[in-house]
Amino acid sequence: MIQAEQKNMVEVNGLSVVYRQGKQEVPALRDVSFAISRGSTCALIGPSGCGKSTLLYVLSGLLESYSGRVLVDGAPVAPLRRETALILQDYGLLPWKKVYDNVGLGLEIRGVTGKERSTRIERVLTEVGLWEMRDRYPSQLSGGQRQRIGIARAMALDPDLLLMDEPFSSLDALTRENLQRQLLDIWKRKRMTVVLVTHSIEEAVFLGQKIIVLSGHPGRVLSIVENPRMGEAGYHKTSAFHALTTELREKLVP
């Protein structure tokens, strides 16, 4: 029963989400449709309150009350899909676990133990350049280091779908650029599908092969922009890069 490999990693069709606030029903997303092909990157951008985080929660399987059709790798989205990893802006690391155990947490929960677990932890910590920090607690790290540990923890699971909710927004500009490059490097090596929620237009153009622009209250797809040159060396210095940011800025702030 081998299924033909799905071309699209993520398929969203007519997705609507309604939040209940007391007796009121607040629509968060209305009739959202798009597809993300396997191994590509996609940036979701929009004003605050446009439901972009909600969308990510639906894709991760954590939010189950929605209407519409959401397929991940050809199957209806399921909670605890093993190959999906989620990285949140903050709070992702447990303050009571050392870096080493934080990175290994997903593996521990999935029952990966012993030699395999320790090799994988060492591999991903070395990849993000923080193997020396393995015995520290998160509170002893800088914000940038913490987010790199968060990425390492996700990569330890060998995900084919990486979901990120404004992962770099609380970092200073230099650290942010560094991490964006590092993420790009990792993606070029692994080619997992990446869905990145951001409120930074530059970040969306730098990291998204496809940029989905959402409008606010409730969130709707305003436009979908293809960005085929993403990942090219020096792309962020070209005039095409700036033209695209300007185009997006005009869509977002008419």
């Binding site: 909670p79 949140l88 903050d90 992702g92 009571w96 947490l105 929960i109 509170s139 002893q140």
Partner: protein, 252 residues
């Protein structure tokens, strides 16, 4: 690091000396047999502890330690579940709300009538009091866990049990030990009270017996023992908190 340890030690000893000096001053000024000075009290303590006082000390320690362990074993799981499972909390919260302010000590006569005047009624009473004192802070700590932390761990594939093991338990642990440290004072007060009523053993009995015989230095030997018991428990819990929650004491 070592220097700080010495400074701490210095101030601890200084505080003890200060307290003893104040006691001596008060005793000299009042000059009553009911308030002997520290010298004669500590001397009597040293003599008595190698005699009958040791037995009473052991009995009281046993009662209070068993009560603390029991309260912990009952309150920690209850508190964590009430803090995390909304449905459980909704049905139990009103009960807790009503029972919490009832002064549990008034049940001592009832407990003695039902369970006898031995260890069991005393342990039950202390457990009853301490249980509620630590249940509420544990529940609130479990409830206050940031949902983002829960979600990020869930996204790693965690089931309910994993959440309790990796998130809820370590998140409430500092609160458990702090609330227990605070409750240990109340526990000893309840212990003292329960031991003064139709009892033949324990520091409370020893103290009241000395009082009825007007043996004031012995009475103060009992007071010293009781303070020592409280002090030891307090230090032990403080030490435990440092050992069990190392992430709270790391240098930034």
């Amino acid at each position: 690091m070592n220097r700080r340890l010495y400074v701490n030690l210095f101030w601890t000893i200084a505080s003890i000396l200060f307290l003893i000096a104040g006691w001596q001053l008060l005793a000299s000024v009042m000059n009553k047999p009911a308030l002997p000075g520290p010298l004669v009290s500590f001397y009597t303590f040293a003599v008595e502890i190698s005699g009958g006082l040791w037995h009473h000390f052991v009995v009281s320690s046993y009662r209070v330690v068993i009560s603390l362990v029991l309260s912990l074993a009952l309150a920690v799981p209850c508190g964590m579940i009430m803090g995390r499972e909304e449905r459980v909390d909704r049905s139990l919260a009103p009960l807790i709300y009503i029972v919490y302010p009832v002064p549990k000590i008034v049940f001592l006569p009832v407990l003695m009538a039902l369970l006898g005047i031995g260890d069991i009624s005393k342990i039950t009473l202390i457990t009853l009091v301490v249980f509620f004192q630590i249940l509420v802070p544990i529940r609130d700590a479990a409830r206050g866990i940031n949902p983002a932390v829960i979600n990020s761990v869930k996204s790693l594939g965690a089931g309910r049990w994993d959440i309790y093991k990796h998130v809820v338990w370590p998140a409430v642990l500092p609160e458990v030990l702090t609330s227990l440290r605070i409750a240990s004072g109340t526990a000893i007060a309840i212990l003292f009270f329960s031991e003064t009523i139709s009892s033949q053993e324990g520091l409370g009995y020893y103290l009241l017996d000395a009082w009825s015989r007007a043996a004031y230095p012995e009475m103060f030997a009992g007071i010293i023992s009781m303070s020592l018991l409280g002090f030891i428990i307090y230090i032990a819990l403080d030490y435990l908190e440092r050992r069990a929650c190392p992430w709270k004491y790391v240098q930034l």
